[in-house]
Amino acid sequence: MSLIPTIGLEVHVQLKTRSKMFCACPVEYGAGPNAHTCPVCLGYPGALPVMNEEALKMSALTGLMLGCAIPEVCKFDRKNYFYPDMPKNYQITQFDAPICQGGAVPLHDFAYPKDAQKSIAHPGKKVRLTRIHLEEDVAKSQHFETSTGIDFNRAGTPLMEIVSEPEIDTPEEAFAYLTALQQILVYGGVSDADMERGQMRCDCNVSVRPEGQAELGVKIEIKNMNSISGVRRALAYEIERQTAALQRGETLIQSTRRWDDDAGQTFQMRVKESSHDYRYFPDPDLLPVKTSVFMDEVRARRPELPAEKRERFVTQFGCTDYDASVLASDQALAEYFDAAAKGATKPKSVANWIINDLLSALAAAGKIIADCPISAHALDELVNLIEAGTISSSQGKTVFAEMFASGKPAAQIVEEKGLKQVSDLGAIEALCDQAIAASAKAVAEYKAGKAQAINSIKGQVMKLSQGKANPVVVSEILTRKLAE
């Protein structure tokens, strides 16, 4: 029996607003316990929620970026359940009139894990979305030996839930989905979407069914993955587990399982009781929202998306698909490249310098592009010096290292180190004559037909010029002189 998996993802994304969803408390990671709380986000008697309009705009922007429909009106509902991390014992969320409907996340080749990029089953696949809705985050519980503490700093943080259709076929597609989604969220400035910091959280619904069977298998939810690769590992494990169970003739039951990344296994948390009744009803404290009020502003805020950027880098700057995907994978990097490429005589070389030299230098220094010591303009100057033949490529590496270390401009370093290539024909000719005179053996060999022998004479010239002679010019002159 051949079994095929089906995966649907529910992604929670913390929005990067300054204040919480329904009160003025700041959204800030790392403050002391309960430092950012007020009567509203603590659910004190009599406190009322007031909508954070920026959160609505960010959600609508996300919808625009993902091709969702933004209905004219959306509303907020109460989802009722008791839990200590829930200050009001109901969560304000959107039940049947969410801010975004439909849409899709396009999976580009380079969003897949590196080891899977060669074997993509459905290139260009788009995973459709069911909806995106906006809600408030809950508090964080911390369990001590005999008690539990609750930190309400997180309670009330604007949280977007992005729900996919169950049409992801493999753990690798799930990986690509999350990577592509993360890039888009960061591009829009709506979230930092860092899974390790809990800014992006992913619950996976996964089932397996016999090939040819239309009806989906028993849905099992897995939680507690804190990286995109963790999601991939958890799904791979879970699909294998479910497949093996079915092949042993076991019956799966609808349940929720927790991923343990260290153990590399999922463990059962709870079996789905007769589906929980959340008794949703419209929140009478909040009026329905007319989205048309802010959609013009949101449309104006829509950035160039990663896919659009990749395409432009290829057409405008002659990048390869791979280079374009590397450069566009990070918005700050893409902006850096854009700025450098604009003034470059050969943007393709700029791309090479960034991908081959700058990124590894940054990685070695533990830095990110935002604190790169070489400005886009400065990099441009370096590349232009090389392209103009003022310094050689290998000298360029030296200059680059110095620029990265000191932040000095390329021209200054070239000047200080006296690295400027000598292209003065007269001077080089004199050096060539000197070298020829001093290399009787090599000259003889060359004249006897051993072409490589010229290299040792060339080396002599370079040595005499202290490396400053333009090697191309030196070759030309030597070839001419030796032919005389």
Binding site: L42, P45, A47, L48
Partner: protein, 483 residues
């Protein structure tokens, strides 16, 4: 006349003229409370020192400068208890001011004293308080109405110049009627609910209890207006609500809804209200019969919507962050179960269960959704009536104050006490009750209330109509004879 017997406007005039200081007023009031409240139990607590500290800084030139105002114990005043008359909030102290309190302070008033109520404002007699019943000052064997019974009783007994209450289905107007004073429920959205412990969010509205119509206008002036902290408060300009007082009623059309003069209406109430209608005619108003055909569904719709909202609103009282917490819970569920079992009284539990039931999946459409549709019909009844008339005139309550304990075992009968006030909240329109006579029961005089209902945000006109009646009658001058 002794200080506590004065109206708000009169005591403010004396304060303004510096004939008396805010501290003297407070002390006189405190003495009066000490003297009569043991019979009434209108107050749950009061903090004279805190009030005196405010009095020291009071600016008597402000509209309510130096005037103490009593507050229903369901509105948060920073640093003071706010129990909602529930054990579950015993020991809780508010850590912020409700918007109405902020506004009262800005108008110079001094919040003083916390008034008793039915637990979480659920009830019509103030017998559902976890901290003892409030008595009707006109006959202490009777109830003062509810849920804002404490607020009404203390104003009627000259223990306060004015009090704030909240009205979800009649909780200001019905006790005002039963205690023989003025009670105003403003338009939904006129007064911020921020800081009012929510019972039913789409129906709750804060309003004043006063001895005169003018006083009600003065308090409304202070507390009305859009509040950025309450999304349901509306951005309507706030007029001076005293501006129309004194204008005559020529050209004013009053509607008598035939559905409000029904069998079961106490004959003495019926007679007093009909006499008031006649009186209005003599003042130049035109009386028109109107129909509000969906009135009969109001009580049913109300008990679905209000309980549904309450079931969620009261979920936050779980002993995790504040308030009563059951001792030695064995686990989370046990903690929730016992905290709420111990903390809530029977009527509150009844409504939470009812509200939970009507929101349950499978019942939502049949109850909650349907109730919302009927609510729309009720609202439409009123807007159609207001095409023909300026205000609606009817009884506030079908009966006068009943004996304490009479209805305690019959919740349904208790629910019917609000039959004439509930539709107003469902429609969101303003309503007020003014005294219009007395019934003789067992040799005691018991006040009768006249209810006037107005168009949204037309409180000024409603007050004008009420004022014309008040100024040409003496009912409002009568005070219960307490020792």
């Amino acid at each position: 006349m002794e200080l506590p017997a004065l109206s708000l406007a009169d005591v403010q005039a004396r304060l303004r003229a510096k004939e008396v200081s805010p501290a003297e007023v407070l002390r006189a009031l405190d003495a009066r409370i000490g003297q009569v409240d043991p019979q009434i139990h209108g107050y749950l607590s009061r903090d004279l020192d805190a009030a005196l500290a405010c009095a020291e800084k009071a600016d008597v030139s402000l509209p309510l400068g130096g005037v103490p105002i009593a507050i229903k114990d369901v509105i948060n005043v920073n640093g003071e208890p706010c129990t909602a008359a529930s054990k579950i909030l015993q020991g809780y102290r508010a850590n912020y001011d409700a918007t109405v309190i902020r506004k009262l302070r800005a108008a110079g008033a001094i919040p003083f004293g916390r008034c008793n109520l039915d637990e979480f404002a659920m009830g019509s007699s103030t017998e559902n308080s976890a901290f003892g019943h409030t008595r009707n000052p006109w006959d202490t064997s009777r109830i003062p109405g509810g849920s804002s019974g404490g607020s009404a009783a203390v104003v009627a007994a000259n223990e306060a110049f004015a009090a704030l209450g909240s009205d979800t289905g009649g909780s200001i107007r019905q006790p005002a009627a039963l205690c023989g004073i003025v009670g105003l429920k403003p338009t939904y959205g006129r007064v911020s609910r921020f800081g009012l412990i929510a019972f039913a969010s789409s129906l709750d509205q804060i309003g004043p209890f006063t001895k005169t119509v003018r006083d009600a206008a003065l308090v409304l002036n202070a507390i009305a207006g859009r509040d950025p902290q309450d999304s349901t408060s509306l951005d309507e300009p706030v007029p001076d609500h005293t501006a129309l007082l004194g204008r005559d009623l020529h050209g004013v059309r009053l509607g008598m809804p035939r559905e409000y003069f029904i069998e079961g209406l106490d004959p003495q109430v019926d007679a007093a209200v009909r006499a008031a209608v006649k009186h209005y005619e003599s003042l130049g108003a035109e009386i028109v019969e109107v129909s509000l055909p969906n009135t009969e569904h109001a009580v049913g719709v109300y008990y679905i919507i209000a309980t549904a909202e309450a079931s969620a609103n009261l979920a936050r009282f779980d002993g995790v962050r504040y308030g009563h917490r059951a001792a030695d819970a064995t686990g989370l569920l046990d903690h929730y179960g016992r905290t709420r079992e111990e903390g809530f009284g029977p009527e509150v539990k009844r409504r939470i269960i009812l509200g939970t039931y009507v929101l349950s999946s499978g019942y939502y459409d049949a109850f909650y959704l349907r109730a919302q549709k009927v609510r729309t019909l009720i609202r439409r009844d009123f807007s159609e009536a207001f095409e023909k008339v300026d205000a609606i005139i009817c009884p506030t309550s079908p009966e006068v104050a009943f004996k304490a304990g009479d209805r305690s075992d019959d919740p349904l009968k208790m629910y019917l006490a609000d039959i004439f006030t509930i539709a107003t909240n469902l429609a969101g329109i303003p309503g007020l009750s003014i005294p219009c006579g007395f019934a003789e029961v067992d040799g005691r005089k018991l006040p009768i209330g006249l209810q006037l209902l107005g168009k949204p945000f037309q409180e000024s006109q409603l007050l004008q109509i009420a004022h014309a009646y008040e100024q040409s009658t003496d009912w409002h001058k009568a005070r219960p004879a307490l020792v």
